[in-house]
C-alpha cells in the first residue's frame, strides 16, 4: 500500500483522481486494489471501444455534441486527441449508430467518473489495500 503524503493529503487525493482519469482504474491501482483496477479498466475500455466501433470516431464531436463530449472526455484526456481529429467534421455519423455510439462512449465516461470519485473517497477514508489484491 502506498504511504500517504504526510501533511499533503489533498495532493494525494488529487493524484489518485488524476490517475483514475488518465487511465480508467488507475486510481485503484495506485491504491493497491489491483483486481478492482483491472475489472474497471477492461469494462470501461470495452464499453468505450464498442461505442467507437458502432458509431465510429465521429461520435466524439466537441462542436456539434458538446454535452456528450463532456461525458466522453471523462474516459481519459486522450479522448481530446480524437476530438481534435473529428472537429473538422470529417467523420459524419447519423441515426441509430450515432445514438448508440454516443450512449456507449458517454456512459463509459460517466462510469469512470463514478470510479474516480469512489477511488478518491477510499483514499480519503483510508479503507484501502485490505482487499482486491
Amino acid at each position: 500500500m502506498p504511504k500517504r503524503l504526510s501533511g499533503n493529503h489533498v495532493l494525494y487525493l488529487i493524484i489518485v483522481g488524476l490517475l483514475g482519469w488518465f487511465l480508467p482504474g488507475g486510481g485503484y491501482f495506485f491504491l493497491n486494489e489491483k483486481k478492482r483496477a483491472i475489472i474497471i479498466f477492461v469494462t470501461i475500455a470495452l464499453t468505450f471501444f464498442i461505442g467507437l466501433y458502432v458509431g465510429s470516431i465521429g461520435v466524439i464531436d466537441p462542436i456539434g455534441a458538446k454535452p456528450w463530449y463532456m461525458a466522453q472526455i471523462i474516459n481519459s484526456p486522450l479522448v481530446a486527441l480524437l476530438g481534435h481529429l473529428t472537429a473538422g467534421g470529417g467523420y459524419p455519423v447519423y441515426g441509430r449508430p450515432c445514438e448508440i455510439g454516443q450512449i456507449y462512449t458517454g456512459v463509459a465516461g460517466l462510469l469512470n467518473l463514478l470510479c474516480i470519485v469512489n477511488a478518491v473517497y477510499l483514499a480519503h477514508t483510508g479503507r484501502i489495500g485490505t482487499s482486491g489484491n
Partner: protein
C-alpha cells in the same frame, strides 16, 4: 505496432449499419452489463470471483427484468391509446 494501430483506427472511422428496428434494442444488454460490473466493482468490500460473478448476474438480471416490465407496460399503454 504502427500498422496495428492504423488498422484499429481504420475500423473505427466508419459507423456500423444498425436499423431502427426492435432488434436494435438488444444493444441495451452490453451497456447494462457494463453498468452492473462497474457498480459492483465499486460497491463490493472484497473482490472474489464467485461472489462478484453472482452479484453481477443478480443485478444484471434484475435490471433486464425491470426493463422488460417497463417495455411491456409502455407497449400496453400505447396499445390501449391506439386501439
Amino acid at each position: 505496432m504502427l500498422v496495428l494501430s492504423a488498422l484499429i483506427m481504420a475500423t473505427l472511422t466508419a459507423p456500423e449499419e444498425i436499423g431502427t428496428n426492435p432488434q436494435s434494442m438488444v444493444w441495451l444488454l452490453p451497456i447494462a452489463a457494463a453498468i452492473t460490473v462497474i457498480y459492483k466493482a465499486t460497491k463490493l468490500e472484497t473482490i472474489e470471483a464467485n461472489v462478484f460473478f453472482k452479484e453481477v448476474v443478480a443485478l444484471f438480471g434484475s435490471i433486464v427484468v425491470f426493463l422488460i416490465i417497463v417495455a411491456l407496460a409502455l407497449y400496453a399503454f400505447t396499445w390501449l391509446v391506439i386501439e
